[in-house]
Homo-oligomer: 193 residues x 2
């Protein structure tokens, strides 16, 4: 074995890409994020980690709501643009056409194939657990509603092969590849009884 | 717009796949997880959400340590097997050859291209924030060390094009696709000044 110790970093390959939506002073703003994870099924919860200086965080804390929008390749330019330009410097409310759901304050992107409307149920400042001076804020949101157009669904559920989304790694976006094997199935080869 | 309300679920496409390693009563055990996210860079932190009844959780809480192992296609059968069979019913300590780092209690998979050795700095029982009776436990770990063999690195950092890992969606594993566009670059098309 020739394992090298490499720079300690929170490596994860590849990361999903989502656009987080929040209203700031009544106007929609979006930021692309890859620090995102499902954390519970009943009720459905999702966590996002966003750096505390980001404009989006202001809106999430202002309203206690946010949206998680899964982009398609069709909106990759707008997605990336939202990661280059801060809402503090540019009005990003015109980048995407939006709609609102029952929470009223979580802007969702019409052209994104999948939208999750979320209510914050827990906020954790990472610096409070590390003792650092600045850092990410972890927001755990309950998915109050999920939305998708018919063309992205198979039997009522979002179908990744129709969504045409992408992932992130090494300062690049990557296509999702082909199916490789069935989960809870390919491993049966190792079962002895 | 014809957005349908669909079943509320914590959709995220595609999710990364990692193998979480923990020692239980001194023996290594692994579980594949897709509820995983980076949450901080300085210091590097990663979060995992594992259902509280899982065997792995016992070991994480016993030692305050765990490992995050990025699988390659070469170990997809063992990865999936660990998700089918619980360590409560079968001894999974022989599925993979392991090594340990300075924490001594976080077993890491030699054949996994990338290993993160983690110390738990925060544990959050999701049921404590939802009021539910049972649920996932969210563990936030600091990456104390990261390990990879030379063949998976480019200029000292893990290279996704060498790792040959896979993702998870819709009860299947999926290949990582081709590079699509550069991040913080493709979006410049929308900049006006």
């Amino acid at each position: 074995m020739t394992k090298n110790k490499i720079k300690s970093s929170s490596y994860l390959f590849p990361r999903p890409v989502v656009l987080i939506g929040a209203n700031i002073s009544g106007k929609p703003n979006f930021e692309p994020l890859a620090y995102v994870s499902s954390v519970e099924d009943k009720p459905p919860l999702i966590s996002i980690a966003s750096y505390e200086t980001h404009f989006t965080n202001i809106g999430i804390k202002e309203n206690g709501t946010f949206s998680v929008n899964t982009p398609s390749e069709e909106i990759i330019v707008g997605t990336d643009y939202c990661g280059i330009v801060s809402g503090k410097e540019a009005d990003k409310s015109e980048v995407f056409d939006v709609f609102y759901g029952e929470l009223k304050t979580a802007p969702m992107i019409i052209k994104a194939p999948l939208n999750l409307e979320c209510k914050v149920i827990k906020t954790l400042a990472i610096k409070d657990i590390t003792g650092g001076e600045i850092g990410h804020e972890l927001f755990i949101g309950e998915i109050v509603n999920a939305y998708a157009e018919e063309e992205y669904l198979t039997e009522g559920a979002p179908d990744i092969s129709k969504i045409n989304t992408f992932t992130y790694a090494m300062k690049q976006y990557w296509k999702v590849g082909k199916p490789l094997a069935k989960a809870w199935e390919v491993g049966k080869k190792l079962m002895t009884d």
